[in-house]
């Protein structure tokens, strides 16, 4: 842990990188990572769907792993590198991550409440399996911690599959 200073009143100072930007923040010991992201940093993409790590709507990527930010203490972010959906693409000029584009193109989005978490789980899963051929069944497992009540998942799986195939082809061309 880097620079984890206990202060009077029990507040902690943590340092972390979020969406490529460095932060130093004072936090309460019982503060959740989700509250830090939503309430302190004002990033609303991560949603609270259940508050107990079961629905995945609050998923962010921390040190390469998809985590449920609603059950992770903010203190755990000390020294960590975090990616939220806001870090997937640029500003309003719509330079979307190809996975976001594929979600749109394939109809993988309906109400959109699960979408940020779903995208990040998919990204973490694909990053961890870079260079391997991915099957639809593996994708299902990779996003099984994220609930979606609108789509029936089929188009989400298809979007991730198509993206993985496309990414594979790009890698091949490069190689």
């Amino acid at each position: 842990m880097s620079g984890n200073n206990n202060e009077q009143g029990g507040r902690l100072t943590i340092n972390f990188k979020l969406n490529e930007k460095d932060y130093t923040l004072k936090i309460d010991p019982d503060e959740r990572l989700l509250d830090l992201i939503r309430n302190r940093l004002g990033l609303i993409g991560a949603k609270e769907g259940c508050g107990m790590g079961e629905c995945g709507a609050c998923t962010v990527i921390m040190n390469g792993q998809a985590v449920n930010s609603c059950i992770i203490p903010a203190a755990r972010a000390d020294g960590a590198e975090i990616l939220t959906v806001e870090g997937l693409s640029g500003g309003m000029e719509n330079d979307l991550h190809p996975l976001q584009k594929m979600f749109l193109e394939k109809g993988a989005v309906q109400c959109g409440y699960c979408t940020p978490g779903m995208l990040l789980s998919a990204k973490a899963f694909l990053d961890q399996n870079r260079g391997r051929e991915i099957s639809r069944e593996q994708i299902k497992e990779g996003i099984s911690g994220n609930l979606c009540r609108c789509t029936g998942y089929q188009k989400i799986i298809e979007a991730i599959y198509c993206y993985a195939r496309e990414a594979e082809r790009i890698e091949e061309r490069k190689g």
Binding site: I44, G49, L147
Partner: protein
């Protein structure tokens, strides 16, 4: 700039019939959703905003002796606490006036609202709620609707003689005589359980004090205009003094109708003069949401030897829960909507909607029709098995056909039910699979069929009227904005409306958007229920677009000095018969606008369906259009574990006209998986009135792992309904209606076990497999 010749040809309709319809159009509000920028009610924040929290009853039935808020009020940051003593005790409610803002006498279910707090932080609000001291006197309670019907059962409403909220009766023809003349008589009881909608965004409201002493409410709702009327009643305000805004909504599936916590947020805002945000946590959403109406359904059917349906007799006991939301309408739907799927000649049905000390129940995709589809379509499967009939032919023999008027006077104008069956049979290879030889090994495959009907709008749902109106505004920049009161809750309706308007006017859909519902601006819209959005709301948008096009043509004619019959508008360009070069609509609109003081053109459209309120015999056409469908499920059942796995699913729907193929498929795939969840595992487990699984850990919901290894195949047939916009009918609910029965029938085909109570669990299958 498009290739002129090519587009000109398209403009004349020589190549394509539609420029915008029938394609796979990604939703127009997708960008904000994939970037996380879309704002839902729980994302809204305002300066000085308070956080609301509700104290809920820990008892299923108890008298409120005393409530002491002294300690709670001392918590730093607490601004207001309300109990039943602080609010008017007048009664109101969506169907039966059995709601109060907060009770001052007793609580009627575990989760019932007792008090509400507004504080400057969520933590302070939660702490205050935990410090409210309530003296309860527990009362005898009743949880099972059948037991609640018995004489001497504890009464939920002491002023009533019994626990029946509403009784529905219908009898057309002569059922007793028809049964006496039947060759085949079949009788069985089915049970459908209580399940939770599980919208990913919980119920939420932000109430804000408005100017002119008005109240502004940002709601996660599927009925913005209608809830405004109800909340006006609750708050004893003039409806016009309430402004409701519906931003993005994270799913509803029937749950997001009138909601107590919305009203409590409004009361707290009016008392404190400050904005109040009230968001259910997931457990509250489970405990005090509006889950599916559980039903016990007794069915008796009479058929002739050739399989002709002669009589249907049903009796339903439905659980209303502790106060009435929409369960009575759901029970009546279960009683008689399916009578217009088949050519019945004699039908009788009685449905009791019964109070119990449990969570108030209400709308959930399928609205009672889904419950009855499970009973009816399971029953037909058993009859076919017992009397060696073909389940496809039996349904085709008795199914309604175009031009048919059902026993209740429902006018089936468009209908491709027969074709749906044909297509599903063909695509699934039904007869080949049915002929498959005896399977060896412990895992058996099976295939099952069920068909469905539904409405696209339901005249008796809101007694004063049905119908919709819309505005389409074409701005000086050539952009069109659709204003509707119908509520997109994630289904893609706003995109469908934009496509309809684009097609009708001749615009490029990229330049059309549908505005968020804001009751200060949008026309009144009844909302998202009864699968009415695309058909009734869409038809109003179509009419508004046609009206706009008429105005646009007149102004183009004036400004460009051409006859209107020499002008064609297509895909954002204006073509003149005597001119090679088309003019972009944006360019023409700017010119038009400059000649008219900078105005936009506004088309207004109204659609009043040719429907009637059913008479005392429940006779009368209730919907402008009826969608139909046929589902076939292929499953695998492990006889050692009892586990059922979905292998493939074929869903064929008569949707009248495909507006957007992509969102249609999305509705079907979502409906099917939701139905699979219900059929194979979803269940609210209630013991002594207490929900034992009020969270996503203990409540089973389908995940990506439950998607079939094969595929969910969807097919759409276009029967071109005369009432729907471009012929379109609804899809939301029909996509779910036949699912549990199709699965139950497939399970039976696989292992010969008939499960008559949902869900179809491994335990029930293993029990059925036991010899003897």
């Amino acid at each position: 700039m498009p290739g002129k010749r090519n587009v000109l040809k398209k403009g004349k309709g020589e190549i394509m019939k539609f420029s915008n319809l029938g394609k796979e159009t990604p939703i127009l509000d997708g960008l904000e959703k994939v970037t996380g920028r879309a704002r839902y009610v729980p994302d809204l924040k305002m300066e000085g905003m308070l956080y609301g929290k509700v104290l809920r009853s820990p008892y299923p039935h108890a008298r409120l002796l005393n409530i002491d808020t002294t300690r709670a009020a001392r918590v730093s940051g607490v601004k207001d606490i309300i109990t039943g003593k602080d609010v008017s005790q007048h009664r109101f409610g969506p169907m039966v006036p059995d709601w109060v803002i907060l009770p001052d006498d007793k609580v009627r279910f575990h989760g019932d609202e007792v008090a509400a707090v507004a504080a400057s932080s969520e933590e302070a609000a939660a702490e205050a709620v935990s410090l409210i001291e309530v003296e309860f006197e527990e009362l005898p309670a009743v949880y099972d609707p059948a037991l609640a019907l018995e004489e001497g059962a504890p009464l939920l409403y002491e002023e009533k003689d019994n626990n029946i909220a509403v009784t529905f009766n219908v009898h057309s023809g002569d059922v007793d005589e028809a049964l006496a003349g039947s060759d085949i008589i079949f009788e069985e009881t089915y049970e459908t359980n209580q399940v939770y909608q599980a919208h990913m965004e919980p119920m939420a409201a932000v109430a804000v004090p408005g100017d002119y002493e008005r109240l502004i409410m940002w709601l996660s709702t599927q009925i913005p205009s209608m809830s405004r009327l109800r909340y006006a009643e609750a708050l004893q305000m003039c409806a016009e003094n309430i402004r409701i805004i519906k931003p993005h909504v994270g799913g509803g599936f029937g749950a997001k109708f009138e909601c107590k916590s919305h009203i409590l947020a409004a009361v707290l805002t009016r008392r404190t003069g400050l904005p109040v945000r009230m968001v259910n946590n997931r457990e509250e959403d489970f405990r005090a949401g509006n889950p599916r109406v559980p039903m016990k359904i007794w069915v008796k059917l009479g058929l002739s030897r050739d399989g002709t349906f002669l009589a249907k007799d049903t009796r339903i006991i439905a659980g209303n829960g502790a106060r009435t939301v929409y369960a009575p309408a759901i029970t009546s739907t279960a009683c008689y909507r399916i009578d217009s799927l088949y050519k019945f000649k004699n039908v009788r049905s009685t449905g009791y909607t019964v109070y119990t000390n449990t969570i108030p129940t209400s709308c959930f995709r399928g609205f009672g029709n889904a419950q009855m589809h499970f009973a009816m379509e399971s029953a037909l499967d058993t009859i076919c098995h017992q009397y060696d009939m073909d389940p496809i032919k039996l349904r085709q023999h008795n199914g309604v056909t175009p031009g048919f008027t059902s026993i209740h006077g429902w006018e089936i104008k468009s209908c491709a039910l027969k074709e749906c069956l044909d297509k599903a049979v063909q695509e699934s290879n039904w007869y080949e699979k049915k002929k498959a030889p005896e399977q060896k090994g412990p895992v058996k495959k099976g295939i099952g069929v069920a068909i469905c009907n539904h409405v696209s709008g339901n005249r008796p749902f809101y007694k004063p009227f049905d119908g919709s109106s819309a505005l389409v505004r074409l701005t000086p920049e050539g952009k069109a904005i659709v204003f509707t009161g119908e509520a997109d809750i994630g289904q893609g309706m706003n995109t469908a409306f934009a496509l309809i308007a684009a097609e009708a006017v001749g615009l490029d859909v990229k330049n059309v958007r549908t505005a968020a519902v804001d009751t200060d601006i949008s026309p009144f819209g009844l909302g998202s229920f009864a699968t009415r959005g695309s058909t009734i709301g869409g038809r109003a948008v179509y009419e508004a677009a046609i009206n706009l096009k008429k105005q646009l043509l007149e102004h183009i004619s004036r400004v460009y000095e051409k006859e209107t019959d020499q002008i064609t508008i297509n895909n954002g360009y204006i073509y003149f018969d005597d001119q090679e070069e088309p003019v972009p609509v944006a360019e023409a609109m700017q010119t038009i606008s400059y000649t008219l003081g900078g105005t936009s053109l506004v088309g207004q459209g109204v659609f009043v369906p040719d429907t009637v309120l059913p008479d005392e015999n429940k006779y009368g056409n209730v919907s402008p259009a009826y969608p139909f469908g046929c589902h076939i499920a292929e499953v695998e059942v492990d006889t050692e574990t009892g586990k059922t796995r979905l292998l493939n699913y074929w869903a064929v729907h008569d949707v009248g006209r495909v507006i957007n193929k992509q969102t249609l498929e999305g509705q079907v795939e979502g409906g099917v998986i939701m139905g699979v969840g219900w059929a194979l595992g979803e269940d609210m487990v209630v013991k002594e009135g207490v929900l034992l699984n009020p969270n996503f850990h203990d409540y089973f919901l389908p995940t990506a792992m439950d998607v079939p290894e094969g595929h969910i195949y969807s097919y759409f047939l276009e029967s071109e309904d005369p009432n729907g916009p471009f012929g379109a009918k609804g899809i939301g609910e029909p996509s779910l209606n036949p699912v549990p029965a199709a699965i139950a029938n497939a399970v039976f085909d696989a292992v010969g076990v008939r499960v008559k109570t949902l869900p179809i669990t491994p335990e029930k299958i293993l029990e059925g497999l036991e010899p003897g």
